[in-house]
C-alpha cells in the first residue's frame, strides 16, 4: 500500500501512452494494471476516498454515445484522484455533418487536457482521435471493437473472487458480433491463460472468431458445462425483433441465463454482466440479484478502481514523457 500511494511509485509495468485496447498488451502489463487497481479498491471502501495524485490535471470525458454508468465511473475515478473533470456529450449525428472528429481533436488539444476518455459508436474512432491528440487517451468503448477498462474490471472482479485467472473456464454469452466487451475480454482472458468459450446464435457470432483462440457454441447448456464464470452480454432491443433473432421470447428461451441452464456450469460459477441488464431477456431477474452467484454489483465497484489505476498510470507516463522531452530540448 505504501508503494502504491507514495511518490516513489513505479510505473515501469505499463509504458504505453494510451490505453486503446487490450489486444497487444502483455500479461505482465495487464497484471500491473490489476495490481494497482487492487489498492484503489481498499481506498474506495475507506472513509476518506480522495488522493491528490491528479491535482491540477484535467480529464475530459468525451462521449459520442450515451452512457451513464461508464461516464459516471470515469468521472468518479478522476475526482477521487483530484483531477478537474469535464464531461462532454456529443450527438455523433450532428458531428458527422459538420465538425469532423479531427476538428474535435484540434479543439480539445487547445484546452490542454491531460487525459481524454473517449467513447464512440464507430470501431477505430478512438484510435483515429488519439493519433491527433497531445494527451493520453483511454478508450471508453469504440463501436464493436474494444472496451479495455471493462475487461480489466471484469478480470479484477474474477481475481478477487477466485484468486487467479489462469486455467479458468469462462463462457461469454450473447451478442458477440456487436460486443466490444466480448472482444476485450477475449484478448485479456486468453492472454492471462483462461480458456474462453463463446455462446451465441449463429447470427450473433462473428466469422472466424475461433482464430482468436476461443471455442464457439450454439447450445448454451453444452457451452456452460464446467464453466467457472458465466459472462452475459447485453442484447440491444432493436436486434431482437426479427433482424438477428426472431423475438425476445425465443432468445430468452434458448440463450437467456436461468437457473436451469446455469446448472450445466460449475456449482458455484459466478455470473457477470457489463450492464445495463435486460432482465428477462438475457438474464433471469432473480438470478441477477442472487448475491451468492451474481457479482454484477462488484463489477461496478471494481470499475472505479480500475479507472483510477488507468488514469494514474497514463497521467504519470504522459508527464514523464513530457519532462524527458524538455530535458532533451535543453
Amino acid at each position: 500500500m505504501a508503494s502504491l500511494h507514495g511518490t516513489s511509485a513505479s510505473f515501469e509495468g505499463y509504458r504505453h501512452r494510451h490505453l486503446l485496447g487490450i489486444e497487444g498488451l502483455t500479461a505482465s502489463e495487464i497484471l500491473f494494471l490489476l495490481d494497482r487497481s487492487d489498492g484503489y479498491v481498499d481506498l474506495n471502501r475507506g472513509e476518506d476516498k480522495k488522493k491528490d495524485l491528479l491535482a491540477g490535471r484535467t480529464v475530459i470525458n468525451l462521449f459520442f454515445e450515451s452512457s451513464t454508468r461508464t461516464r459516471t465511473s470515469f468521472e468518479l475515478a478522476a475526482k477521487r484522484l483530484s483531477a478537474d473533470v469535464i464531461n462532454m456529450s456529443v450527438a455523433w449525428s450532428s458531428i458527422k455533418k459538420g465538425e469532423t472528429l479531427i476538428d474535435t481533436a484540434m479543439t480539445l488539444n487547445a484546452m490542454h487536457p491531460d487525459v481524454l476518455v473517449v467513447r464512440h459508436p464507430d470501431s477505430g474512432a478512438v484510435q483515429l482521435l488519439a493519433e491527433k491528440m497531445n494527451c493520453a487517451v483511454i478508450n471508453g468503448g469504440d463501436g464493436s471493437h474494444e472496451h479495455p477498462t471493462q475487461a480489466l474490471l471484469d478480470a479484477l472482479t474474477i481475481r478477487r473472487r477466485l484468486g487467479i485467472i489462469e486455467g479458468l473456464q469462462v463462457a461469454i454469452c450473447g451478442d458477440i458480433t456487436h460486443s466490444r466487451v466480448a472482444r476485450s475480454n477475449i484478448h485479456l482472458l486468453t492472454t492471462l491463460g483462461a480458456r474462453v468459450r463463446l455462446i451465441a446464435p449463429p447470427t450473433l457470432m462473428p466469422g472466424s472468431i475461433e482464430r482468436m483462440g476461443v471455442e464457439t457454441f450454439t447450445d448454451m447448456r453444452k457451452g456452460l458445462e464446467d464453466c467457472d464464470i458465466v459472462m452475459m452480454l447485453r442484447l440491444q432491443t432493436e436486434r431482437m425483433q426479427g433482424s438477428y433473432v426472431p423475438s425476445t421470447r425465443e432468445y430468452f428461451h434458448f440463450f437467456g441465463l436461468d437457473r436451469e441452464k446455469l446448472q450445466a456450469a460449475k456449482p458455484n460459477a459466478l455470473i457477470m454482466h457489463p450492464g445495463p441488464m435486460n432482465r428477462g431477456v438475457e438474464i433471469d431477474s432473480e438470478l441477477a440479484d442472487d448475491i451468492h452467484r451474481s457479482v454484477i454489483r462488484e463489477q461496478v465497484e471494481m470499475g472505479v478502481a480500475v479507472r483510477m489505476a488507468c488514469l494514474e498510470t497514463l497521467n504519470h507516463n504522459l508527464h514523464l514523457a513530457r519532462s524527458q522531452q524538455e530535458q532533451a530540448a535543453q
Binding site: 469532423t100 471493437h145 466469422g207
Partner: protein, 434 residues
C-alpha cells in the same frame, strides 16, 4: 495549284516498339504524322531522320500504345473539389493513360444525352487525354427504370453501368441486357449483392478483430453467377468490373469456357494488396469491393496471367482528406489510381507472372476492344496515342507529387519499377518526365 499545308511529323527513334495487338517487340522507330501513326518498324529511319521531321530520341525506352483506362471516376460534374476534368486529364497523362472512360456516378448522374455531351465538351475544352464516358443503366442510378440507351450511345456513351452500384433487381438487369443487345451495347456491372455488401471490409478474422461489419466474398460471386444466367438467357454483352475474389475468377473462367460473351477487369490494388492493408483502420486502403485475403490476391494474379481477367483498370477514385479521415466504417471507399496504374501492373512482369506484351494488352488493346474504342494499337493509320516508358526504372510513389487533386493512395512510399517518360495523344506530347 495551292500548296498543301506542311504536315506535322514526329519521328520517335531508338525505341523498343511494343504492340500487344500484333505481338511486335523490336527495336525500331515510329513516325507520327498529323496525329496518326504513319509508319513504324525496325528499319524506319535507318538512314537518319529527314529534314522537317521533329526527332524524339527514346534512348532505348519502350514505345507502346498509350494506356486505355476503362474505369475512372472523374468527379466532374459535381465533386470538383476532389477532381476535375483538367486534373484527371493531367493525372492520366502523367500515368501514361491516353484514353480514359469515366463512370456516370457524377452529380448530376450521366443518364441523359445532355450529360454525355457535357463530358465531351469539357474534354474538348481542357484538351488533355481522350475522355469517354459510360452512361447509367438506370435513371439516376436508382435501379428501376432503364435509360435511353440507344440515344445515349448515339451521342457517344461507350457502354452502360450504374457505376459503383450494382444493378440489384434481376428483372431490371435482365431487361437491360436484352435491350442493350438490340444495339450491341455492353452492360458493365459492379459485382456485389447489395443486401450482403453492407459491411466496411472483407468478412473474416480481420473484420472480427477490428469490430467492423464484414462483406462476405460470396456477395461478389453470387451477383456474377446470377448475371451469367441472365446473359445466357438474353444473349446480352456483359462485363464485370473490378473483380476481387478467387471464386469470381473461377466463375468467369467457367463462363468463358462455356462460350459466353463475357469479360472482366480488375484493379491493381486487388493484386497488389490484401486485407492486411486495412489494419489499424487505414481508410486509404478501404475500397469497394473490399481488399480480400491472400488466396484471393493470388487468384487475381493467376487470372491476369492466364487471360481470364481481360483488362486492368485503375479504378481511379479520388477523395479529399475529409472523406477519408473518418472512422473506417463511414469513410468513403476508393483509391486514386491513374498515376500508379502502370508501375503497379508492371509488378506482374517483374515478378515473372506475365510477359510484358501480355501485360500491356490488359492495359491497352483489350480494354479498347471490349469498349470498341479506336485506341490501344501501334498500327499504320491508328491515332498516335503513345506511351514511352522505362519498365525497369525505379522510383517511389509520392502522392504529394500526383497531378490528381486527391492524394488518397495506400501506396505512399512504395518503391516501384516502371516510369512514364512521355505521353502522346494524337501526336501531341501531353506529358514529358522531367
Amino acid at each position: 495549284m495551292t500548296a498543301l499545308p506542311p504536315k506535322h511529323r514526329t519521328a520517335y527513334v531508338n525505341a523498343r516498339l511494343l504492340d500487344p495487338a500484333s505481338g511486335l517487340d523490336v527495336p525500331g522507330a515510329l513516325l507520327a504524322e498529323d496525329g496518326k501513326i504513319a509508319d513504324l518498324g525496325p528499319d524506319l529511319f535507318k538512314d537518319g531522320v529527314p529534314e522537317g521531321v521533329q526527332r524524339v530520341d527514346c534512348a532505348g525506352a519502350c514505345l507502346a500504345p498509350g494506356l486505355v483506362d476503362m474505369r475512372v471516376q472523374i468527379r466532374e460534374p459535381g465533386e470538383e473539389h476532389k477532381e476535375t476534368m483538367d486534373s484527371a486529364g493531367r493525372a492520366a497523362a502523367a500515368g501514361g493513360v491516353t484514353s480514359m472512360v469515366g463512370l456516370p456516378n457524377t452529380d448530376p448522374v450521366i443518364d441523359d444525352v445532355a450529360g454525355v455531351e457535357f463530358i465531351a465538351r469539357r474534354a474538348r475544352e481542357v484538351k488533355r487525354v481522350k475522355v469517354y464516358t459510360y452512361a447509367a443503366v438506370t435513371r439516376n442510378l436508382e435501379g428501376r427504370e432503364l435509360t435511353e440507351m440507344g440515344l445515349l450511345a448515339e451521342s457517344g456513351a461507350v457502354a452502360f453501368t450504374d457505376g459503383v452500384k450494382a444493378v440489384e433487381n434481376a428483372q431490371v438487369m435482365r431487361r437491360a441486357l436484352a435491350y442493350a443487345r438490340t444495339f450491341g451495347h455492353l452492360i458493365v456491372q459492379h459485382p456485389e449483392e447489395p443486401s450482403l455488401a453492407g459491411g466496411a471490409m472483407n468478412g473474416g478474422e480481420m473484420a472480427t478483430r477490428l469490430g467492423l461489419p464484414g462483406i462476405p466474398k460470396l456477395a461478389e460471386v453470387m451477383m456474377i453467377e446470377r448475371d451469367l444466367r441472365l446473359v445466357e438467357m438474353t444473349g446480352g454483352r456483359y462485363h464485370v468490373a473490378h473483380i476481387s475474389t478467387a471464386e469470381s475468377v473461377e466463375a468467369i473462367r467457367r463462363a468463358k469456357a462455356r462460350g459466353l460473351d463475357v469479360t472482366c477487369d480488375t484493379a491493381p490494388h486487388y493484386f497488389a494488396l490484401n486485407e492486411i492493408a486495412v489494419a489499424d483502420y487505414r481508410t486509404f486502403a478501404k475500397v469497394s469491393p473490399p481488399l480480400r485475403g491472400e488466396d484471393d490476391r493470388q487468384a487475381i494474379l493467376e487470372g491476369v496471367a492466364d487471360g481470364t481477367i481481360d483488362a486492368i483498370a485503375s479504378d481511379h477514385s479520388p477523395h479529399d482528406v475529409e472523406s477519408k479521415r473518418l472512422p473506417f466504417a463511414i469513410a468513403e471507399p476508393g483509391i486514386v489510381g491513374l498515376e500508379t496504374l502502370l508501375p503497379l501492373s508492371l509488378q506482374l512482369y517483374h515478378s515473372g507472372k506475365a510477359g510484358l506484351l501480355d501485360l500491356l494488352a490488359c492495359l491497352t488493346v483489350r480494354p479498347a476492344g471490349i469498349l470498341d474504342l479506336r485506341a490501344g494499337r501501334l498500327a499504320k493509320g491508328a491515332p498516335a496515342d503513345l506511351l514511352v516508358f522505362h519498365p525497369e526504372r525505379a522510383w517511389k510513389i509520392e502522392p504529394d507529387n500526383f497531378a490528381s487533386k486527391s492524394k488518397n493512395s495506400p501506396f505512399e512510399g512504395l518503391p516501384v519499377q516502371g516510369r512514364v517518360c512521355r505521353t502522346v495523344v494524337d501526336g501531341r506530347a501531353l506529358f514529358e518526365a522531367a
